[in-house]
Subunit: 475 residues, 2 copies
């Protein structure tokens, strides 16, 4: 491909991109293909000779696009959003072109220093403790793993890094029974053992019970175990429940336990002064993660990880082979030592584009819109006897189910599973599910960048319509 | 930003991208900024109100661009390349726009199935064992960590995952003293302890000595330790030395040790039938990693990780919370269970664009060009008494130094450090260094997608010129 070919196709793709943003609502939100359908449409063998970009792009539109689930549709209400935005995508065009690998300062000084600067910005935007230092990770899975590993090393005097487990550690990690599966994964990877992850019960709002947490810590100590880390959820995945950070922090302080706060989704809400209460006590945390790629309009992946004591993070991960040494090492942040991977993309650029393009006011406006829409749905759920609200609505996510008098719980669960499938099979909206107190729960998460009232109104009409159809069938 | 604003800027950025590819040689290859210079040019506080894209893009050009090290310059000869290509960048435009989060099949079926298909293609292109199954990871650091964790779990009957280390394991990992620092990092993360990473001596060509490896394994067994994993380097970072995979594989087989082959850089060379000898015995490996983002013209990050027994990988990482369950789970690959992170970008698309656009023939042509150019430099080094070759040239990387009669080794080391700084400070080329047998070694790695003979000729002229200047100063 020559640069003039590239120029031609880059313009063609630029139009495709703008068209996509204009037309994304027309695609089925969740892909309607069957397992194996895409793969069977692809040639089994790689081509010997190069093919034209026209042929490749044609296949992209013909084969790949129908197999995509459109996360950037304003009718995407599944999981948590992984929203991007037009300014973020523009930045990605530059990042992809420069293709810099930003492992050390020298390998792209601007990437290292912009990362430092944007992490400082985020601290101010979210009202995070001034003592925190930030670094961009790929995902909250990685950030949480970094937290647990750093806790492990700090507690062991960095001896597990050097000598391995002696078998005498008997470390324990605590989180609520509603905490994210990435904590289970991190505990396994770190060699702590899943049976040493203590799942604490929750209150009626699905938030951790600090009294039970303290009891478990105390009884573990009596049994000769060492409480290592508590992971508090600032917004659980199932229902966005808010664990009481201050109370947990005081317990952690008392027993000298690392407190990691996982605000992967909800952290962005701290940009709103009226929502800061959810993180009351955050200054007691040793580490905190939230994902700008979830609800801050920044392309996946971009996870902002903050630590109170960056030296402990660096000491956990530092390596210094000759081939990576540079004369600037003493004066700069070499982010290779702030996490697991050596290689790093230039992720700060898109975040910088987003923050500058929206401004703090623009970001707040979007968040307030989304939260307001979630509260509208909550009202609709509460005022309609065919539906039941299953968790408090604090942010942009609503947990509900349809219900019918006279049916037992098992039947209602199956009914809701069918109901969710029907809604999703229309392709007009995409919602996902969880279980709360054994109840099959529909989750509707509002946070895609372009979701406005009209989308939520239409989605609710669809939901009511599909529910009514099921009710007719049964009655 | 409206979609019509976006369209306007996307076209403007498309031109910037094409211009960048046309003009990248005009930028200093390595950024000439001083530590702190970029950060001090950035505003300390985030903006309250949104700013115009013109202002942001202007600051990008004014502040950020001078702070970039241009990895995609054909005069970039540092580290190993992290090369992209125009077809890959086109794919990134689509990926960024769709912004799909591809953690499970349902969250984008095309991403999961294209990943499976491209991994099959790579197996055929590189002549990998048919029994391997592949998955895309972000970096070789992560792939190697996955290998060591899987080895740990398989050997412990998955008991470390469930119960944590008992202290009785006494696992040992082996690699050459020239293996990559990511192995040190992985051994620490996995809780094995750095002192249980046994660094085996190398032969005159910097390849691991299999006799010494077997001796160490045997003596470890005598001491009651359990050999867990050997990491063989297919191309060490310092000098691209090739560890003898077949001999190592036979030893691993004999002592029931997991063999992981790290071909992060050199793996791409297996696309050349005449280079397949470097991986002779690869069918004995349990896992293999190579990075298409290094030498296969695919944007960072894209690391291809292959395992013989994918079930052991999945069993190591599987999680199954209710909120991630889908009805397709039994019929598809859910790649969330094939590695550490839950969230995953759609990385297969760029790889598919590259393979189709170049074809196997186009990729082979580039590789042969790069290897041929490295051999030219080798000849120039060998025929010039001012230089000394310090390692065999097998692929695209040449290790050499300048030398002067009558100087002791320490003086020559300092001389070469100064020499390298002078070359890099011209901004006309970028090379990095390592140490081989205590000698400060200049590494010149040829692998950027657009590097042609003219770039190598000019770089060599620059090298000779700067060397001669130093010689004048000293004499």
């Amino acid at each position: 491909m020559t640069t003039s070919d590239f120029r031609k196709y880059a313009h063609q793709f630029a139009d495709w991109m703008a068209d996509y943003f204009e037309n994304v609502e027309r695609y089925p939100v969740v892909s309607q293909v069957k397992p194996g359908e895409i793969k069977s449409a692809l040639p089994k063998a790689p081509p010997q000779k190069g093919e034209s970009m026209d042929a490749i792009f044609n296949d992209f539109n013909r084969i790949i696009l129908p197999g995509m689930t459109h996360w950037q549709s304003p009718n995407f209400f599944g999981y948590f959003p992984a929203n991007n935005s037009m300014p973020s995508v523009l930045a990605e065009m530059l990042t992809a072109t420069m293709g810099a690998q930003c492992m050390v300062w020298l390998s792209s000084p601007a990437a290292a220093e912009l990362e430092e600067a944007t992490m400082e910005w985020l601290k101010e935007m979210l009202g995070l403790p001034a003592s925190f230092a930030g670094v961009i990770q790929d995902t909250a899975s990685t950030s949480t793993l970094c937290a647990i590993l750093t806790a492990r090393e700090k507690k062991s005097g960095y001896e597990i890094n050097s000598k391995g487990f002696s078998g005498k550690e008997r470390f324990r990690v605590y989180c609520s029974e509603h905490a994210h599966s990435s904590i289970d994964k991190a505990v396994k990877i770190a060699g702590l053992g899943l049976e040493n992850l203590v799942k604490i019960g929750v209150d009626a709002d699905f938030a951790i019970r600090p009294d039970e947490l303290e009891e478990r810590i105390k009884s573990d100590i009596v049994e000769g175990k060492t409480p290592l880390c508590v992971v508090a959820a600032l917004g659980t995945t199932s229902s966005t429940a808010i664990d009481p950070v201050r109370k947990i922090g005081q317990i952690c302080d008392k027993y000298n336990v690392w407190l990691h706060v996982d605000g992967a989704y909800a952290g962005t809400a701290l940009a709103l002064p009226e929502m800061r209460w959810i993180a009351d006590g955050l200054e007691l945390a040793d580490s905190f993660v939230f994902n700008p790629h979830k609800w801050m309009f920044t392309n996946f992946d971009c996870s902002a990880y903050f630590v109170k004591d960056p030296q402990s993070l660096i000491q956990t991960f530092t390596i210094s082979p000759e081939y990576l040494k540079t004369s600037a090492d003493d004066q700069v942040n070499n982010y290779r030592d702030w996490g697991i991977q050596l290689g790093r993309r230039f992720r700060a650029l898109k975040l910088w584009f987003v923050i500058r393009s929206y401004g703090l006011e623009g970001i707040r406006e979007k968040l307030r819109l989304h939260i307001g829409l979630a509260h509208k749905i909550k009202e609709w759920v509460l005022s309609d006897p065919r539906f039941e609200l299953l968790a408090p609505v604090l942010l942009g996510t609503v947990c509900f189910r349809m219900t019918l008098p006279g049916l037992d719980e098992e039947r209602i669960n199956r009914l809701n599973e069918e109901f969710l499938n029907r809604v999703n099979n229309t392709g007009k909206a995409f919602l996902t599910h969880t279980k709360l107190n054994g109840k099959y729960t529909i989750r509707m998460s509002i946070g895609q960048t372009e979701t406005r009232e009209e989308h939520v109104v239409k989605a609710w009409e669809l939901i009511v319509d599909e529910a009514q159809k099921i009710i007719y069938t049964i009655s």
